[in-house]
Amino acid sequence: MSRRVVVTGMGVVAPNGIGVDAYWRALSAGQCAIGPREYTSAEKFSLTKPTAAVDDPDGVLDNLGRDIARTDRFSKFAVAAADEAMKMSGLEIDEALSGRAACIIGTGIGGQVSYDKAYVDMLWYEKRPHPTSILKLIPNAAASHLSIRFGLRGPAFAVSSACASGAHAIGVCADLIRSGAADVGVTGASEACLTFGSLEAWRAMYILSDDTCRPFSKNRSGLVIGEGAGVLVLEEEERARARGAPILARLAGFGMNADGKDMINPAVEGASGAMTLAMDSVKINDPSAVYINAHGTGTLMNDPTETKAIRTVFGQDADALVVSSTKSMHGHLLGAAGGIETIAALLALKHGVAPPTVNYDEPDPECDLNYAQTGAVERDFELVLSNSFAFGGLNAVVAFEKG
């Protein structure tokens, strides 16, 4: 009998809530965290754009220990989310388990705040960069800090595939457990890219919305960038059951592929192929009991392409599904999107509620599925998917069922 993987812990740092409970309250109530914010640099440059930033009124990110205080913002997000996930799972990493514990954390960029600071120090203030800049900005910094914090000494690395990083990380970690290379894993993704320099680069592509994120709506006007982290604890099922762990869901499948076509424009075949692979061993009894947390970026290209891909996979059953994009509330977390969106899908499975697509106000004939655009949909879901499709044509889809 092949090894199966279950989720035993979840942790979130999102623009619309720190902690799983706060995040779910916001998601299910349709609370949008997007708003105009000003980003400055070197006392000279300034840019104001709608973004979805993490507010931390309780200082959670400032109380992670002195060793974490000096790390980049993206590592702090990952540590805060992982602390919550580990606590929820009750997993103890002892000496025997340590070498069998994986740590796979996705990020699109890594320590963007530290990158920006190093360059501004050098080129604007004519100072040398801080010698810990490298330790802060390397994309594996978050994975390394988690490995040190929890004693995870099995396979550990960062995954970077732009907006699919989180889904790739979770899928790869699950595969390591399925294959027997690890027994447990801490996995997910983190991103903290809200800096003047980063936003200018995104703006240069004319891809950022000046308004808000309106996935699948005819008047959608582009991306709104968010920040945060979503982390899961995964375990081999028999092991988890034997120790009496909370079983939040079971991995139903993981699909990944590449369009192999274009750096920007997504391809229907890639997206539909990844979804098909993720459901390879799934038998769907009732398509109305399927929820898809869509990639749903609110860009001109993604939303109709993803809609066509879902129709390609589900055919006539597509109209029975509930599909929503929670990016409409928490923005696009880039590399971390697959982390917090997988958690949104898992919470939809747990609570029997699909969070809505907010900010939707104009039907588009090319986007013609049920997007929960009028509010959260209560339904007893059997299967949930989280879609992630990256710039560069890299696709990853994770699917979960009740455990």
Binding site: G65, D67, R70, P131, L135
Partner: protein
């Protein structure tokens, strides 16, 4: 105590994440909770505060045979004078 020594003690204390109680020359390095990351921080801060260069290779074992904070201060002192 010299200005250099006062500065060194202050910077080490700031970065000694495992320290409980006072920091003196006799404090054991193993009680400071300092890792390699902290050592790089300490070197940088001392360089900035004293406007000196400390040619320390971050890839070396930072403590070698050193046992106490006094040993560390002496080593930094000798690097500063170099």
């Amino acid at each position: 105590m010299s200005e250099i020594e006062t500065t060194l003690l202050a910077v080490i204390k700031e970065n000694a994440v495992g320290l409980s109680g006072d920091l003196t020359r006799d404090t054991l390095i193993s009680d400071l909770g300092i890792d390699s990351f902290s050592v790089v921080e300490i070197i940088y801060e001392v360089e900035e505060k004293l406007s000196v260069e400390i040619p320390f290779n971050a890839n070396e074992n930072p403590f070698g045979e050193m046992e106490t904070v006094g040993d560390l201060i002496d080593a930094l002192n000798s690097l500063i004078k170099r």
